[in-house]
């Protein structure tokens, strides 16, 4: 469980829902069918996708911490549902600009522009074809605006990320009138969206790491070789410790970053969390796979549902290299005598 939620009820409820409805089989079927309708419907009925979006704007209310608790659960169960996109990202943009929150899936597109009133550009969009609306943050002169486009109006080429979750190439060339446009909320710009998107990936990864550690411990305590469970071998214990350390770092980073953003002072938190997550993905997935031996690289054993997601999410919302460089610049700006305050504040 996680300590993100202000109210443990949110975390408990989402955990029960996922335990009932998100077995490894369901995850596997969603990958071949492209969708897990029962799971999404259950989420939708509970209002979970819109948690942290104000209820006055058509969301479910609740804090960013509550939303993080839900995403953490999705990460733990490798749940194939676009909750981060629908609420924390698209819902946040829409609510901030006073645009309508759709009843179905919403997702976000980046890198689009407004040209003579037309919304144009190509974007790779998570869950694009599955969505009801695609929401973009675009610059209009010096101002940032939120555009909400009905997905039915768009040409889409299907694709998928490493985890087999939809990642579609969407072509935008929509005339004014074909989409809704409104001024973005104060402080909402491309960087704010990038930070929020990166944070969503960190939280999902934190959940996946928690589960990755647990199933690796469980497997090595069942599997026997040389007459004893392999968790008893020091060489295997090293992999368990490495996996657990990666999980501990990413989970602490996720929680600190969520609190920093919720307090309106993200500072270096999200950049640091994304850099740490990337390093942990490299170290932790290697250790977990090695501990599992050949079983871990089959499709029938669910380790890949977690590791493939971790490998997919690391590429989304900024590379580690970009975030690392940004942190280095922050250290440089602070200077040798004040950089420690970035660590403690």
């Amino acid at each position: 469980m996680t300590a993100f939620a202000a109210d443990d009820l949110v975390a408990d409820t989402v955990d029960r829902l996922l335990l009932d409805l998100c077995s490894p089989d369901v995850v596997e079927h969603a990958e071949s069918d492209g969708w897990a309708p029962e799971l999404w419907n259950a989420f939708s009925e509970s209002g979970f996708p819109w948690v942290s979006v104000p209820d006055t704007a058509g969301g479910s209310g609740g804090t960013l911490g509550d939303a993080a608790a839900i995403l953490h659960g999705i990460g733990r169960y490798a749940a194939p549902v676009p909750v981060a996109e629908t609420g924390m990202l698209a819902g946040w943009l829409l609510a901030g600009s006073g645009l309508e929150i759709p009843g179905g899936v919403a997702t976000v597109a980046t890198g689009l522009s407004l040209q003579g009133g037309h919304l144009v550009g190509d974007a790779t969009v998570a869950w694009g074809a599955r969505s009801e609306r695609i929401v973009a943050l675009v610059q209009d002169g010096a101002a940032w605006k939120v555009a909400s486009v009905p997905t039915s109006a768009l040409a889409i080429e299907r694709g998928a990320n490493l985890a087999g979750e939809p990642s579609d190439l969407v072509h935008f060339d929509v005339a004014s009138g074909g989409f809704d446009l409104a001024a973005a909320a104060e402080g909402v710009d491309a960087d704010a969206l990038l930070q929020r998107g990166a944070l969503s990936r960190v939280i999902l990864s934190a959940g996946a790491f928690r589960a990755l550690t647990q199933i690796t411990i469980d497997y090595t305590n069942e599997r026997k070789q040389f007459g004893k469970t392999i968790a008893g071998f020091q060489a295997v214990q090293q992999f368990l410790v490495n996996t657990a350390q990666c999980s501990v770092r990413v989970n602490m980073a996720a929680e600190r970053a969520v609190r920093a953003l919720a307090a309106g002072e993200p500072g270096i938190a999200i950049a640091a969390a994304k850099v740490l997550t990337d390093a942990a993905v490299a170290e932790g997935t290697r250790a977990a796979h090695q501990a599992h031996g050949a079983m871990g690289v089959t499709r029938e054993y669910p380790l890949h549902q977690l590791t493939r997601r971790l490998w997919a999410w690391r590429h989304e919302y900024g590379t580690a290299s970009m975030w690392r460089r940004r942190l280095g610049t922050a250290a440089h700006q602070a200077g040798a005598d004040r950089v420690f305050q970035l660590i403690t504040d």
Partner: protein
Amino acid sequence: MIEFDYSELTPSERALQAEVREFLDRELPHGSYHPALGFHADKDPEFSRKLGAQGYLGMSLPKRYGGHERSAVDRFVVTEELLRRGAPVGHHWVADRQSGPVIAKFGTEHQKERFIPGIARGELSFCIGMSEPDSGSDLASVATKATRDGDGWVLEGRKIWTTFAHLHDWAIVLCRSTPVAELTDKRQGMSQFIVDLKSPGLTATPIPFIDGTSDFCEVELDQVFVPDELVLGSIGQGWAQNTSELAYERGGPDRWLSSYTLLAELLRLHEQQPLPDRVADVLGDALANYWVLHSLSLSVARSIDSGGAPAVESSLVKEMGTRFEQDVVTAINGIVDEAPNMADTSAFIRLLISATLAAPSFTIRGGTNEVLRSVAAKGLQPSGGKR
């Protein structure tokens, strides 16, 4: 399952942090001292006395003996500030971190009155008397013998890796007081003694360290008499007491800040000028890791204050924190343009050379990483299918 509850500093802890920063800015302005690599620091009794006068030593110890009964988190705040500046903490370090707390926990009234006030004032210095030439990770195999003699005990044997034994005042020495042959478990029959390092029969000989310093010692105990009043805790309970002492050695900021001063000097070299990308990358990577290790260490301290026993968590932090300390040194070595020269007196190169030479010790001292992994693995238990 292992739990690191998220924690933040409270307003009063922030106030302490600000106070310590102001004090150290005044006492240790940049350029006025040689920054150390973490707790492998110079012995400066005058500086230690100043810290004592500020109330920054013996923070967790009872007030009636001159301690301050403050929290583990308060001590964490002070320690973090001292170590990140590479302050000369060598004189009081062991006394403050572990000897004081174990005396407070297991000592007699007489011992508490005799030692704790001096520890809290930063006057008394202590050494750790655990390792022996033939006993490292397998501490239960210590061979230094304690034999009953009149109103006390006679110690016979050798201790090693005893930092500052030739200069410090006291050592807490782990001995075998009952021969293994008479026991079913070799962890029984061990006892701890508070030994005066000026005792007749005790010789401390420096062992030149890889970096050319001579703070490490070998201690020979040749018929050293220790009176009953300096037996620490109970005869035969040495193993349990010692294990509790080791808990103070792990999980703190001393396990991830050892190469911080090197990183800070790297940054200082690039102040007021454009930052090369390769330097930015090293700084960025390190900053992310310090940022999370700070939170993990704070979580351990908070757990101790709430009555927890985060032995497994401390081991996890120490194991990864010390590897990170080495990674910082490796990364910085990878971006320096000129080969470090021993004749160079600049703060950065001096620290780079010391850190490169001392780095292998980071993952050895206070419990090797191999032992720590075994301790940590005990906390990694099956879940019964729960995620």
